[in-house]
């Protein structure tokens, strides 16, 4: 626990601090970049892009070794991965647009073929006796061992550029995500916006390769956006909330993995993000599971209350135990089921409402108003006082309620 607190406050050593800051920045960039992907409903394209980085890593290594180096330049490896990811992305787009195959089939094909090719390349590279190939397989699941200042700088600069680009392009990206047809009619080049969206995702993937690895980076792109969606109904807030959730997951995950030996950083970060997702799924207001079930219970109680009062109006006996419980709890009926004075008053009010609604539906053919008759909404919420007075005038004198 103490080790965890040390790591959280960046007191656990230079390397751990570097990893925590790098992971937080990466999480923020991934969260924002992934938001539009999620809103465009193309989350899985990022999986294809991530897997398509692997052959690029291998080929870049081979080229650098052939040129006489050790093949260890991070910039070189990342450039290679970016290039092959871009080719993979264009292939997905080409298959989806130019052939009869749907995008999911294109994603499956590109993902597996590129990944398979990458694994073959890495296997061949292991048998070479030139260059320093140890550590290339870290690109699969990420590694924080020996993270350098340069690695953190790449994440910081790359991440900042990605977030800035998203902010600049937020309007066309929102338009295309919400209504691509309308965007195109407005003159937005939807294909280029889509490519920009994917290009930014690819950039995050590439800068995150070393830390989180290509298999798990997808989680960091998608989970924060999905989690943020639980908490807000505005695009821009989803964007920044997803960035914050990604950043917190990265920071806390890195600190946690630094606090105990042999805890893998990438997977821990993803698990923290998943925990935030699970919490949101349960607890978020309005969209959360708990809120939905509470809302349903409240609705159910209102229905029972209304039905019970209408039964009182008609002088019918009430048998439903929940209805009886609700009416008793509110003091609307006595223990033996007979209406109290308060119950009679409420029942009379509801009976009057029902008759007013009858009139309202006859007078106002406008369905957008009368369509709101659900038997529950008080008429005062739908019509103004003078309108209700008009209904009452048409109702004629008060009629006795059948008690």
């Amino acid at each position: 626990m103490e080790a965890f607190l040390d790591a959280l406050t960046l007191q656990a050593g230079y390397n751990a601090a570097l990893v925590a800051i790098g992971a937080a920045l990466l999480g923020f960039a991934a969260g924002t970049a992934g938001s539009f992907l999620f809103l465009r409903k193309r989350a899985l394209v990022s999986d294809a892009v991530a897997h398509a980085t692997l052959p690029g890593v291998g080929i870049a290594f081979l080229i650098m070794v052939a040129l006489g180096g050790e093949g260890r330049s991070l910039i070189g490896l990342l450039l290679g991965s970016a290039l092959s990811a871009w080719i993979g992305l264009l292939l997905v787009e080409w298959i989806a647009h130019r052939t009869r195959l749907a995008e999911d089939a294109a994603i499956g094909a590109v993902l597996s073929v590129f990944f398979g090719f990458g694994v073959v390349l890495l296997t061949v590279i292991q048998t070479l006796d030139r260059g320093r190939q140890a550590g290339l397989e870290d690109f699969l699941l990420g590694s924080t061992a020996g993270m350098l200042l340069q690695d953190a700088q790449i994440i910081a600069i790359g991440g900042a550029l990605v977030v800035a680009a998203i902010w600049v392009l937020r309007r066309p990206m929102t338009l295309v995500s919400f209504d691509a047809g309308y965007a195109a009619a407005m003159g937005v080049d939807t294909r280029r916006v889509d490519l920009a969206m994917m290009g930014l995702v690819m950039a995050v993937t590439v800068i995150g390769l070393k830390l989180v690895g290509l298999i798990l980076i997808v989680a960091l792109l998608i989970i924060p956006a999905v989690t943020a969606r639980f908490w807000t109904n505005r695009v821009e807030r989803v964007l920044w909330a997803a960035g914050a959730i990604g950043g917190v997951s990265g920071y806390v995950g890195a600190a946690l993995s630094a606090s105990a030996p042999d805890l893998p950083t990438g997977p821990i970060i993803v698990l923290i993000a998943a925990a935030l997702f699970a919490l949101s799924l349960l607890l978020a207001p309005a969209r959360g599971v708990l809120a939905a079930s509470l809302a349903h219970r409240r609705f159910q109680r209102r229905v029972h209350r209304r039905q019970g009062l209408l039964a009182l109006v008609r002088g019918e006996p009430i048998h439903d135990p929940l209805t009886l419980r609700i009416l008793r709890a509110e003091g609307l009926i006595r223990a033996d089921g007979v209406a109290t004075d308060k119950g009679r008053a409420h029942a009379a009010k509801i009976a009057r409402d029902e008759r007013r609604w009858d009139i309202a539906r006859r007078v106002h053919q406008d369905t957008s108003l009368t369509g709101r008759y659900d038997g529950l909404t008080p008429i005062e919420d739908v019509f103004t006082a003078d309108q209700i007075a008009d209904f009452d005038a048409r109702l004629g004198p008060p009629q006795p309620v059948g008690f």
Binding site: L39, K41, V168, L169, R171, P172, T174, L175, S177, F178, D179, G181, Y182, A184, A185, M186, G187, V188, R229, T232, N233, R234, V235, R237, V238, Q365, D366, T367, S368, G371
Partner: protein
């Protein structure tokens, strides 16, 4: 059938008569195809300015396709589109498009006012600030469709008719001259239908042009001035009084319109 069948032209080479520059939307030899099967074949059309025009035809006749191809949303195999005498790209600012309601995900995280503000994005560009004036313009567009009280609502909470009104408000916010609507009355309540038609007539009174894909034959004469009948090919085009006739409809719909429906229409067309 059109008097002269224009030859299908490749890559926008003009073949038919010159487009009328005053027409808000003129099509020459428009052919669109999904695979090898043309959805529209060599369609010529000249929609009149300052009028309400209906695009009418049976299901699968290419009505929506015609609208989408006119807007460049789907590629043309051949043919030309001119908007107010200009090529499409030069006239984007003058067109507002109202797509089918079902074409978007209504659970998208956005509010009514934000959707209407999307109509301003072209003028705002990447960096333009959403000023108070822009917001006022969007609110006014909402007021014109009777939805100003709903500005802050999440769009998923709207009824079908209200969604259609929001789409219309977004188009209004564009301050365009030509309004292209894809089945604006599909699945909306009677009050919304009336609100929309009143608004469209108001636009017409302001000199704007309205072109709508329309499926309800019984309201054509009440709502529109001009009809364009299409069934893959252009079948007939002209003022409602002279063109929207039982014989033209019978030809457009083939056997798909029951004789009783035609008889009913004959009464409304008079």
């Amino acid at each position: 059938m059109p008097e002269v069948l224009t030859l299908a032209a490749r890559d926008g080479q003009a073949t038919g008569p010159e487009a009328d520059p005053s027409s808000p939307l003129a099509l020459r030899g428009l052919t669109v195809s999904y695979g090898e099967k043309p959805a529209l074949f060599s369609v010529d059309a000249t929609f009149p300015a300052g009028a309400m025009s209906a695009i009418i035809g049976p299901n699968g006749a290419g009505k929506s396709t015609l609208l989408k191809a006119s807007l460049g949303l789907i590629p043309r195999v051949s043919g030309q589109v001119t908007v107010f005498g200009q090529p499409l790209a030069a006239a984007r600012d003058r067109i507002a498009y109202v797509p089918q309601r079902a074409s978007v995900d209504w659970d998208f995280p956005t509010t009514v006012i934000d959707v209407v503000l999307m109509g301003r994005y072209r003028k705002l560009g990447l960096f333009g600030r959403v000023s108070r004036a822009e917001r006022a313009l969007a609110t006014e567009a909402l007021a014109r469709v009777g939805m100003d009280a709903f500005a802050g609502r999440q769009i998923g909470q709207l009824s079908g008719g209200q969604q259609q009104r929001v789409f219309l408000a977004r188009a209004l916010a564009q301050e365009a001259d030509l309004y292209l609507l894809d089945e604006p009355f599909a699945g909306v309540d009677a009050a919304t239908e009336r609100a929309i038609i009143d608004l469209l007539k108001e636009l017409k009174a302001q000199g704007k042009s309205v072109i709508a894909v329309h499926h309800d034959l019984s309201t054509v004469t009440a709502y529109f001035d001009h009809v364009f009948l299409v069934n893959v090919r252009a079948m007939a085009e002209g003022p409602v009084d002279t063109t929207f006739t039982p014989s033209a409809l019978a030809e457009t719909y083939g056997g798909r319109l029951a004789a009783t429906q035609l008889a009913d229409l004959a009464l409304t067309v008079g």
